[in-house]
Symmetry: D2
Subunit: 333 residues, 4 copies
């Protein structure tokens, strides 16, 4: 299976490496608006740096991996559909929900595998938690809690074009809730600027709590902060009728030091690429499974729309200070 | 310091034992509407079982400990004030906020120590967390999370007279939030009946999430369930500008068994009396400190009113499906 | 059941408190060569401070608790036997094995309960480990490891009269091995003075490793140090045919602090009295069970001899640099 | 840097993959007495399967990686020295200490990097522990404990040619002790056959404890078992003058399940290749560092001799039932 990559930046490089670890897939071309970046990545992997149109027009390329900037995602998905390619796209589809719904409609008729890059679904820890939950090991789930703190906020320049915390950061956690509990009925959002006043000045928040209510009474809470001094904090907890499942942080090493000053153990892995390295590899193999073996994709375009719809509802909820119903208009279903 | 006890039930017995562990205080009398219960406890401790009036009229009695049923608390506090006694009262002041506000007004002029039995403030783990937070060890607190699950729901007959989950169970967690973060600006409550339909039929919920928003942007979440198959789950977590503090469960023992089936460690202590046994003893000593050494009480009548006000706001929030402002009318300040 | 206490020092006070927690036993008298100490403890408990002979001659006293200095233990056990008392004696019987064997012979014909104060057998954690082992939860035990480090060495003046590390400190761990695995066939001892040269100058060691070999091939290791900067380290680990059991340290509290500097959790409880407080209470109740209900004692005089025999063998092993057989001459059985 | 691989078996495949992960090294050829295995591995990596002599004679090959059967190691090291290659060799040099000493002598004059495959030195956890120890974070080390249990014994057919537990299995732990504490003065070995009588019938043991004594009084214990029902158990613990360092197991995932049956967390990684996968990659990079940048090797031929000398001493100690001195004749230094 021959693959071309859109985007030779940080996340593009991660995907390029993942493509090479699966013997069933082969990276053959890369494109980037920054031509130098494309050339460098092409040289490293012994492949071609080409134009976007070359990729779309090349019938020997089976799949495209979209890891370019967010504002290109929707257009590239549509172009990929027209070109008949299997498509793997980094989240989000678009920062605008109505645009995402358009893409979803176009994608609906596509007969090749399409997958959104919700990498956390493929983290072995969260995947093991979901497997245990689905297997009924704690009975029916009742209370879900997702904790997701970044080690430090991104530059304010990034914040300004990010679409805001709910769409940029919490979108992963909305997807985690949808992954584990499905789509909720209402969204109640709270948020504040506590970490950096510049973020507030840019119109965004850096600290947030959202509560999701489900039609059958289940509840989920999401906690986000743009800053955790001790590292990247990524935990999930589900209380069920017969017990509780927790997925704790992945730590840097297993060494503990006990002295008169206390018992000191390792911090969580600090950087998201390191923390989710295995997830990226497993994620890619899942996409190859879909392309090669016809297995269903784990994170569909609809999942991308759903997470975006929850982010949109959260924005509205916080603006209006009230819970917002999630409607079929928002999700297109 | 001579002490008389109102209430010879389960919690009364715990307090009777605590009184005896502090060499500065002496239990001298007990009263209960169930005369047999009073007689039994009196016999065990070699003290008198008497009428409530005898206690209030006896000038040699310095302090009263009110551990009788909730509906007697307000009246007994008032009577204790009139009789000039130091007063220790189990939570809550009353199920009715306006009644609690009346008591508070009467209590305001009392010149003897008065303390509410918010035992969790005295738990060595939560106390250590608060000490570290107040010492600035993680910088300014930003996100607080209180998890509080009972091992199993009480009988529905109890539920019916309990005042509902927010006032009966979450009141402890409202107080924990007030203890750590102070009084919030708004209360947003969610809840459902997931554990036992009988509880729903009785007009109550058994599963709840509440979000508290503070004037300066800080946020707190409380999660409650009437059922945790693995035991009594009591945890607190605070994210601050420079780190995080967590207080984990107290476990039954430190034994771990590793077999082909997994690595099995001990469950949290199951029963609240066992879990908080040390807290009850420390709590009583704090009250004696106030009586004997003039130290300030850790949990005042105002704290009792505050927790009740948050519970009242939660009830309203859930009924109306919107965040509720905490006003000075609610708290009397 | 009326009890008299020999010894009003640190450990005597602990036992006095334990006696009072069991409603079936009553402390009635205390004696000590330091008359003031006896008077003080007597005053605290509202009992008599008397002479040793008075206690032994008083037919109303059912049991004696020997918590006086080690050199008095053997004589008091013999006197207690002659006086027909139930006897609880702190470890060791004597520093001299042959003297202990004499006591054992005299004690053999005594028809009242006799128990040695091996408190660690009653620690809820080690007791739970033994219960799981005896229940076959990890199959047959194969490798036992006991880790036992004191927070800091005692004064050298104490070291000089202590009988040496094996008899004074490791005796508890020899007993733990005997408790869990029974009596070994050979003892191989290693030791060094690493903590304090003064200890070496006094002819003792402060760091030691002993390996016990059992007739059926099982092995046990004991590690001792007189110093652990982080506190009192008390752990047991057993590998069996079907898994492993570990008993970890009891920690001061459950609070964890995560900052840029690391994840810091609580140290083990520092002081042996605090660490084993529950064990002392449970231990005493076990003795009362034996006296009142005729239950077998958990730590017999023979157990006291056995632990001393292993200490003696360890001394010989280290002196001669070879494994030493444990013979029936050493244990009297 | 061009590399040729001797041995296309399980461990050879692991090394082949490691060679490919470092951009500075390139696998160009493989050889194996099982020609099919060599062909398969060559096909997978797009390289040549050739004869051993071809490799040694090829001047374009800079380094050889010896991962063939143990009995070929010594001869191949010698051949590699004669051919002027950099040499990476899996442990052990040979099962026979005198043969290893011959190799060491020949190797002494070699001017290319030579490294033994003691992979555990490169495990990030043990490496972090050593870094903390060497940095003085717990003061001077005093007591070292290495726990190393395999999940299940190898086939008895393997046991028969393995050289015995001390040389085949514990050799890793001897090296870990040498890595952390240097070479000891005496070795005291204990062992038994508890897991499988067939192993005993083959003249070997499956359960062992060894104590190492150092000239300055430090002590180290090693515990081995061929069976741990819960997985591959690999831990290290060092007590020092100012605290303790522990390296705990690496677990399969971070999910914990709490139910009425207990709190169940993940087992240690079961398979050594999975457990030490990162170590193999880091180990190879360290060898490339030595070849390319002239950095010193972390595990030298001398380290290989040292570990073998300790195994030999352990065999003698167990046979004669006494501690054995480690002499310069044994280690060649």
């Amino acid at each position: 299976m021959k693959v071309a990559l859109f985007g030779a930046g940080r996340i593009g490089k991660v995907h390029a490496a993942s493509i090479q670890t699966d013997p069933r897939s082969e990276l053959v071309a890369v494109t980037d608006v920054m031509e130098e970046a494309a050339q460098a990545l092409a040289a490293e992997h012994g492949i071609r740096a080409v134009g976007a149109e070359d990729i779309l027009a090349d019938p020997s390329i089976d799949a495209i991996l979209i890891a370019s900037s967010t504002n290109t995602h929707a257009g590239l998905i549509e172009a990929g559909v027209r070109a008949g390619k299997a498509i793997f796209c980094e989240k989000p589809i678009d920062l605008d929900l109505s645009r995402a719904l358009e893409v979803q409609e176009i994608a609906a008729s596509h007969d090749k595998p399409m997958m959104m890059g919700f990498n956390r679904r493929f983290d072995p820890n969260f995947a093991a938690l979901k497997a245990a939950l689905d297997a009924g090991e704690i009975g029916k789930g009742e209370l879900l809690s997702v904790t997701s703190y970044d080690p430090a906020p991104p530059p304010v320049s990034y914040i300004k074009v990010s679409g805001g915390l709910y769409r940029d950061m919490m979108i992963h956690d909305f997807d985690m809730c949808a992954f584990l509990f499905g789509m909720p009925q209402t969204v109640s959002a709270h948020g504040a600027c506590l970490v950096d006043p510049e973020i507030g000045a840019a119109g965004d928040i850096d600290t947030a709590v959202v509560v999701l209510s489900y039609a059958d009474g289940r509840l989920a809470t999401i906690r986000n902060s743009r800053r955790a001094a001790y590292g990247y904090d990524q935990r999930v907890e589900v209380l069920g009728a017969e017990g509780q499942l927790t997925a704790e942080n992945v730590i840097e090493n297993t060494v503990t030091k006990s002295t008169a000053g206390g018992v000191v153990s390792s911090k969580p892995m600090h950087f998201f690429l390191e923390r989710y390295m295995r997830a990226y590899t497993i994620e890619w193999s899942a996409f190859v499974d879909a392309c090669v073996d016809g297995k269903p994709v784990t994170a569909s375009i609809q999942d991308g729309v759903n997470a975006l719809a929850l982010a949109e509802a959260a924005n509205l909820s916080r603006a209006e200070g009230r819970p917002i119903q999630v409607t079929s208009e928002m999700t297109g279903i």
